[in-house]
Symmetry: C2
Subunit: 240 residues, 2 copies
DNA sequence: ACCTGAACACCGTTCAAGT
DNA sequence: ACCTGAACACCGTTCAAGT
């Protein structure tokens, strides 16, 4: 049952403290993801990463300018994991936008804390550029005006990253009892001063992150659709 | 012209290294904001903060559980700086929602890096609760259905914080040349493979953060309005 | 009750030196 | 060209001891 003759799988090639592969950007990013995915962003230090690769931290700096650049590299690689949406279909553009946002969220979900690392960065590189091109095609096919379409990608990326961030953090601290704790606090407020909070108390806190994510997606896409509709109205009234 | 007889303004009462005030949560949060506003989140360490207050880091831990709680306290105080919207006016609800988002963004702008510190936290406390109650009133007056209204606050808060985060980061690194650098990269892409990026190249990058913020606000509020319209349609067709 | 110094177990990055 | 050990200047938090 042992397979001592078979080669080690590549993702195990850098067992703690034993380095077989020579250092390279690729190998460093590989190892960084192994730490990130399993232990989260706080565990990802240059020293810990070096240890994982069987070296000292200083060695990493030959291949990578600093930790900031390392995270940019990780982000660029993760962008490559987002499946590109198929060819754009004007009839289904809203669903295509949503599917794409869902796929992005899935990538964030598989790399713990990646969303936190991504916020405030715009990792414009080969992979992101591909994504942007396809997204613009979908939005234009849907009739979203240019200046809105150009910003819609930012808006959706912001939304997906922020929600994913919250998902990561929710997993960390308070278990599932956080919602109950907050709802308890809301329930304790004087109903005469906070009537709406009281009435909507459970809706304010309830719902898995999945359905809350979908709600926001609904709102954003409805907003984009409103602009698309306005444009097509302008068109028909202008006769062009 | 000197005013040596006048008392020191409270915000200067803790000059570096000289402590007049006894330690307290309030004084600690005061000092923390002085560091944050001037030097940003990376400069805000427990040791640096203690030094600002003329003590050692260990002393802070009598008043504050840890750095995490300190940031929660800072956030709660900042929420108190957001001016509450006036009484809700059904005719102007969309503008009221936007004004409120703008006011929140202004608070983030005055406290450097506060947005970064806020992400992933829901600082439910006395000040936030006040804000939530008023926001719900505006949204309900506008006819936004309950389950959407309950999530809309989250969505808007997420958006404002994420944009403010980007504003903070943009101020840090690359000056104003970042947009030009990215646009140059986009321009260098093969036009046949990336026709839309080429066509929208300048729109993708251009615009001050102000007008980009307004665009996203337009989209989100239009989305909320779409749900409000749907509900009023349901109403009139149901005759209730 | 409140504050302190010293210690523990970490960080990112640099730099002279090695091969 | 690539890697290394040691050092610099930091972190958050704890803990026994002081007043």
């Amino acid at each position: 049952m042992t397979a001592s003759a078979a080669p080690e799988p590549p993702w195990r090639s850098n067992a703690e403290g034993t380095r077989r592969t020579p250092l390279s950007r690729e190998a460093i990013v590989d190892a960084a993801f192994r730490i990130l995915d399993r232990e989260g962003l706080d565990a990802l230090s240059m020293r810990r990463l070096a240890q994982q690769l069987g070296t000292g931290a200083a060695s990493l700096y030959w291949h990578v300018r600093n930790k900031d650049e390392l995270i940019d590299l990780m982000l660029e690689r993760a962008m490559g994991e987002v499946p590109l949406p198929g060819s754009s279909d004007p009839e289904r553009w809203q669903e295509q936008v949503k599917d794409f946002a869902r796929a992005s969220r899935r990538v964030f979900a598989t790399h713990r804390d990646l969303a936190r690392a991504s916020l405030g960065r715009v990792p414009f590189g080969p992979n992101l550029v591909e994504i942007v091109e396809r997204s613009l095609a979908i939005l234009k096919a849907g009739g979203v005006p240019d200046h809105i379409a150009a910003y819609a990608g930012d808006l959706l990326a912001l939304y997906v990253a922020a929600v994913s961030y919250e998902d990561d953090v929710a997993g960390d601290g308070f278990g599932g009892d956080w919602a109950a704790t907050v709802e308890g606090y809301l329930a304790s407020l004087p109903p005469d001063r906070f009537p709406l909070i009281h009435a909507l108390r459970s809706e304010l806190v309830s719902g898995d992150s999945e359905s809350r994510f979908e709600l926001g997606l609904d709102v954003i896409v409805a907003g984009l659709a409103a602009f698309a509709a306005r444009r097509s109205q302008d068109r028909s009234s202008a006769g062009a």
